[in-house]
């Protein structure tokens, strides 16, 4: 639904204020909760000014007097932004006091309690506070509000006035001022006495903070500058991560020496121009993409001309103008969760005295090559009479709470439908037939004035917006489909799960699905059934939703592959359905050779609501950029939690595969944190394979050093059981800078000895099945014995017996298995075997269970390594992305065949994601690529590389082995360029 709403509440129908310069905030956890502001006084003349509040996505509005001001007056400049848990922040110029900055906060914006004053600064004066906020999504400081208030602070030394006030934990800010806010100066260059008023921050949840400002230079011209901080402005120096390509100082100058007029008098119709026309918006999918809009006065023109440009490399280089609008002001850019950009502005059209202000939004998916334009309002520019400057506002606002765009503008409020081409709703009394405003009594005529208008441009109607919840805590507390979703652990409580039988199972006491560990094996034994609970944000139409399931190894960074070969599941929604659980599962099979430790993902889609590209196929969340594939797209969900049982005196062991999903060599940083009430146990440990064990405290960090693209290593986690209060849960986040791009969780649940025995024997059976598939025939009889035990209750004695036999067999074959992976026992298999032998000798069942679990899991991981060393179809696209990156680099891009190779590599990756090609076409692609790879090999004159090239060229028959040889070749190539 697209709508425009005059925001003046009905009870205030008699008002004739000049409600100009509007601003808007949207609660990221619930986009129906919206706050607005304008130069609006308390209707009853009290000392507190109001904010406009809405809890129904702007359809209705209420004024709430919570801004400290002075009797009968609106506050000065005011902007708003939501943090976490509904906290609303505001930057204002406080009355009385002239240029007196206040930064305010309320924990509940609908409650009529005056906001707390966190910052109160005047000195030489502070102008135009502009607030943005974001919650730390994962990693250090998770849940904290990071608050950024751009302002033009005349206290800045040497006329360097561009400033951002920063709080790294807005919720913890406690008066007296300045609470925990710190003013950060961001202008490094000499100015012509000052910077101009607008300093506009834009924040990405990965910790990237952009700040755009207009640096006035000596002589009067100005530079449009974009500064950047890559870690929340939390480091010792702030906003210094983007250096200008020419002068090397912080802040890239997008354009220099432009005329940005500062004319504090009537300039455009009844409006002034005071150099406040500046807007910046980072793409929520990718913090490297950032949009900028500003206004300047080109030579020979009278009014402002607006410009829109884009950077795709974190602000270093910028496009030419992608959109230019003459005779316009107050530009705003916003980007939605699908990368669509919207550009809002007010343009003065016509000839005096018949000029009109046209408020318009242009939207585009292709950098304004094609544009969808929407005129929100076209109103007379010469009425009503101006009361003060600014007439409409030095700026206005627009944001995207997911797919849709919400915005706010001020305009002449004559109730005339011709003025609002897409329609309008007035909450105040009005007669559209006579074009007359009416007071609260519905009778008394009221004069025309400037009012704030809210608009919603719906990109997807709620009945068409389907999603799979990333988290559920109860029947009433669950992911409502917001983008990005709001809970850091989106992979432990999601609505995608697998079962061993073709029934979804009952939901647990927290209304969560119950996942069962999948089984591997021949025939029906390895059959599993994937399920999803699908919701939508509204009802009203019958829709068929397709659910596609994918799997990847348990851990982080591994690329997803399709779970099965059966046609995707289809879930049919009637017009009234808002949530449906798949009644029949999607059948998927785990071959005998496969590990049953997996991540499971689902992508749902309809014709109107497709998956946001890129999909998960052939990729891992977070790579090749730090995009958050799953949380940013409510059509995707992922389950990545290893849950196992243990007795009170035992512990549970799980290995996670750490895969470098990037195309660069890097250290992979894992940060762990314990969740829930469980106490730390003596056995709670973590170990990087081949390294030393360390204790798993409440939180910590593990660095997996120097990993090549596509390389994998193992991390072992051992956990004591939880208690009646809940499972022991430890989450591991894969960090890139301050952003957790992916993660997994390990959980241990307290269960009876019998249940633990069953679990471990089930895992043993899975491993024995794999061993058989690896050609180790001895595993067969042991598997048969285990299978027979699993049918009934398992005594401690029977468990010890069968484990003893299995351990003998496993350790006997260990040397041969280790040979397949290079001979080293980095997983600690032999040590587990020795510990198990001791426990068996003592007939200590819980201890034997714990050591047997460790032995089984380590063998399982060893088999996975051996399997992957034969090649992995899941990594084909990563190879090609890596190849494209290498041949785009300084050394190889000079080769004659480089461009063509890069093109065909990228195209294959794109086609693979679109399912236009499959792995079976990979050998043919590589055959076509050989000439280019040979050219590179010849140019480098290296014997080993030549040998690897020959192996590649002679191994084109099998896609899987080809992937491995291709990887080995790229590894050697990367080391030489």
């Amino acid at each position: 639904m697209t709508y425009v709403v005059n925001m003046i509440p009905n009870v205030f129908s008699g008002e004739m204020n000049q409600d100009s310069e509007p601003n808007l905030a949207i609660d990221p956890a619930d986009p129906a909760r919206v706050a607005g502001s304008a130069f609006t006084p308390d209707p009853l003349g009290g000392a507190n000014a109001p904010v406009f509040v809405s809890v129904d996505a702007g359809l209705t509005w209420t004024l709430n007097n919570i801004v400290p001001s002075t009797a009968g007056a609106a506050t000065g400049d005011i902007t708003l932004a939501f943090g976490h848990q509904g906290r609303l922040y505001s930057g204002i110029l406080r009355r009385p006091g002239g240029l007196r900055l206040n930064i305010l906060r309320t924990t509940s914006f609908t409650v009529p309690t005056v906001m707390d004053v966190l910052v109160d600064r005047t000195g030489s004066g502070v102008d135009q506070p502009y607030v943005e906020a974001a919650r730390v999504f994962r990693g250090a400081g998770t849940g904290q509000d990071r608050v950024f208030v751009g302002n033009n602070d005349f206290n800045g030394a040497a006329g360097r006035t561009a400033t951002v006030d920063v709080s790294l934990d807005g919720a913890a800010a406690v008066p007296p001022p300045p609470s925990n806010f710190v003013a950060r100066r961001i202008e490094p260059r000499a100015t012509g006495g000052q910077d101009l008023p607008p300093i506009r921050p834009s924040v990405h949840i990965d910790g990237t903070v952009y700040a755009a400002y207009i640096g006035r230079r000596a002589g009067g011209n100005s530079d449009i500058v974009v500064a950047r901080d890559d870690n929340w402005a939390a480091g010792p120096a702030q906003f210094v991560n983007l250096l200008d390509a020419v002068d090397g100082l912080a802040g890239q100058r997008v354009v220099t020496a432009v005329n940005v007029p500062f004319e504090n008098f009537q300039t455009m119709a009844l409006e002034r121009l005071v150099a406040s026309d500046l807007s910046i918006a980072v793409d929520p999918r990718n913090s490297s993409i950032v949009w900028l809009a500003w206004g300047d006065r080109p030579p020979g023109t009278v009014n402002l001309t607006l410009h829109v440009r884009r950077s795709t490399d974190r602000g270093q280089t910028w496009s030419a103008d992608l959109r230019t609008v003459a005779d316009a002001k107050a530009p705003v850019v916003a980007v939605n969760s699908r990368g669509r950009v919207a550009f809002l502005y007010q343009q003065l059209v016509g000839v005096a005295p018949n000029q009109r202000w046209v408020t318009q939004v242009d939207r585009s998916d292709d950098a304004f090559v094609t544009i969808t334009s929407t005129v929100l309002a076209t109103v007379p520019a010469n009425a009503p009479a101006r009361v003060f400057f600014p007439y409409l506002g030095d700026y206005m606002d627009m944001k995207s709470p997911g797919k849709d765009f919400y915005g706010i503008f001020s305009a002449n409020n004559t109730p005339d439908l011709a003025n609002f081409p897409i329609g309008v709703t007035y909450l105040r009394n009005a007669n559209f037939g006579t074009h007359t405003l009416l007071a609260a009594d519905g009778v008394t005529p009221v004069g025309v004035s400037i009012d704030p208008f809210f608009f919603c441009l719906t990109e997807m109607p709620s009945d068409q917006d389907f999603y799979v919840a990333d988290w559920t805590d109860s029947a009433t507390a669950f992911d409502r489909g917001v983008e990005p979703s709001t809970e850091p652990q989106f992979y432990t409580r999601s609505d995608v799960w697998t079962r061993l039988t073709d029934a979804p199972g009952a939901f647990d006491g927290n209304n969560r699905p119950v996942n069962e560990a999948p089984r591997n094996g021949p025939g029906a034994f390895g059959d599993n059934f994937a399920f999803a609970r699908i919701r939508r944000r509204g009802t009203g139409s019958a829709q068929a939703v397709t659910a596609h399931f994918l799997v990847s190894p348990f851990g982080t960074g591994s690329n997803y592959v399709d779970a099965g070969t059966a046609p995707d599941a289809v879930v049919n929604f009637t017009a009234a359905d808002s949530v449906l659980t798949m009644a029949a599962g999607y059948p998927w099979h785990l071959d005998a050779i496969s590990s049953s430790h997996l991540c499971l993902a689902v992508e749902i889609s309809t014709a109107q609501d497709p998956v946001v590209a890129p999909g998960l196929l052939g990729r891992a969340p977070g790579w090749p950029t730090t995009d958050l594939l799953v949380v940013n797209d409510n059509n995707k969900a992922q389950r990545n939690m290893g849950l196992g049982p243990t007795t009170a005196s035992g512990w549970f062991t799980r290995y996670g595969l750490i895969h470098n999903g990037a195309t660069i060599r890097r250290d992979i940083v894992l940060e762990w944190a314990r969740l829930g009430p469980s106490k730390r146990g003596r056995q709670d440990r973590v170990m990087l394979a081949g390294g030393r064990e360390q204790s798993l405290g409440e939180s910590g960090r593990l660095v997996v050093p120097d990993m090549s693209p596509g390389e994998h290593r193992w991390v072992r986690v051992t956990l004591r059981a939880g208690d009646d209060a809940g499972d022991t849960v430890v989450v591991f986040n894969e960090m890139v800078g301050s952003l957790a791009v992916n993660g997994f969780a390990v959980a241990a649940r307290l269960q009876s000895e019998d249940e633990v025995s069953k679990y471990i024997l089930g895992r043993l059976l899975s491993v024995l099945t794999r061993l058989e598939a690896f050609g180790i025939a001895d595993a067969g009889p042991v598997a048969k014995r285990v299978r027979s035990l699993l049918d009934g209750r398992i005594s401690g004695r029977a468990f010890l017996e069968v484990i003893a036999g299995a351990a003998d067999m496993l350790l006997r074959w260990l040397p041969g298995l280790l040979e397949r992976v290079g001979g080293k026992d980095t997983l600690g298999i032999a040590a587990s075997g020795r510990s198990l032998a001791a426990a068996l000798s003592d007939k200590d069942v819980p201890l034997a269970q714990s050591h047997a679990g460790a032995l089984v899991e380590s063998i399982d991981s060893l088999l996975t390594t051996a399997d992957k060393n034969e090649g992995d179809l899941a990594d084909i696209c990563q190879n090609l992305r890596w190849q494209a990156a290498l041949f785009s680099g300084r050394r190889l891009s000079r080769l004659k065949s480089a461009n063509a190779l890069v093109r065909q590599s990228v195209r294959f990756v794109d086609d693979f994601a679109a399912r236009a090609v499959t792995a079976s076409e990979y050998p043919a692609l590589m055959k076509r690529s050989l000439a280019a790879l040979k050219e590179a090999t010849v140019s480098l004159k290296d014997k080993q590389l030549t040998a690897l090239f020959d192996a590649l060229a002679n191994g084109l028959g099998n896609a899987r082995t080809l992937q491995r040889r291709h990887w080995e070749f790229l590894l050697a190539l990367a080391a030489r360029v």
Partner: protein, 240 residues
């Protein structure tokens, strides 16, 4: 109490423990009150006679109780929610009287109330004034012309200096001619500040060192009550 409240009305309690405003939770201290007559409110809010509003009570109320409520505003939506700051027995509780009050009587009551508010404001400002004069503006000089501004904000007050020939001194001592600074800006932060024009004759409530003034020595008029028409000279004098 009632004299300072921004909203004074006669009302009848028609429900207890209820709320007409969705964002204000009903409770022991909320009542729905029908507005029978408005005694004091800005013009934009005077047409709510007959509407049911929510009052967050300061003291208990009874069903059917008729009273003159003093209140401050909390929430303004489809309905209105206010916080009671005072209550007294309504002097015109009957519907017929209420109708009169919302007609011609209401106009005179409003005029009386406005006059009372003006007196209170003038008294406060006159007390703070360092001098009060009746004078005539003979010249104006923009501050920008006098000295280049080192820094520029859209909220610059655009200080201007008026030359005023003093006809009468009501408070303090002044020379025959005084320089009076005023904010000539039409910006949102300053548009309510009084503006002076050449030829204008007025009562001037002059202050020195007021918050936001350019310096501590200059005579300044900043508040909307600082400049009054000459016919109020006697009124101002009587308030000192």
């Amino acid at each position: 109490m009632a004299s300072q409240a921004p909203f004074v009305f006669h009302g009848t309690v028609i429900a207890l423990g209820k709320s007409t405003e969705a964002l204000l939770e009903a409770g022991d201290r909320t009542a729905v009150v029908r507005v029978d007559a408005v005694v004091r409110a800005p013009d934009a809010m005077r047409a709510i006679v007959g509407r049911e509003i929510t009052v967050q009570l300061r003291q208990p109320a009874a069903m059917g109780e008729k009273a003159e409520f003093s209140a401050r505003g909390l929430l303004y939506g489809t309905s209105l929610a206010v916080q009671e700051t005072g209550k007294r027995k309504a002097v015109t509780p009957q519907p017929a009287s209420a109708r009169r009050l919302s007609g011609a009587s209401a106009d005179s009551a409003k005029a009386r109330d406005q006059a009372s508010a003006l007196r209170a404001s003038l008294k406060a400002r006159a007390a703070e004034a360092s001098s009060v004069v009746v004078g005539r503006v003979t010249g104006i000089m923009e501050a920008a012309a006098a000295a280049a501004k080192p820094r520029e904000s859209e909220h610059d007050p655009h200080w201007a200096t008026a030359t005023v020939v003093v006809d009468q001194v009501i408070k303090g001592t002044t020379p025959k001619t005084v320089k009076v600074m005023f904010a000539n800006s039409q910006d949102v932060m300053w548009y309510r500040a009084p503006k002076l024009a050449v030829g204008q004759r007025a009562v001037l409530l002059l202050r020195k060192g007021a918050p936001g003034a350019p310096d501590k020595r200059s005579n300044v008029v900043m508040d909307e009550f600082d400049v009054q028409s000459v016919d109020r000279a006697q009124l101002v004098a009587s308030l000192l």
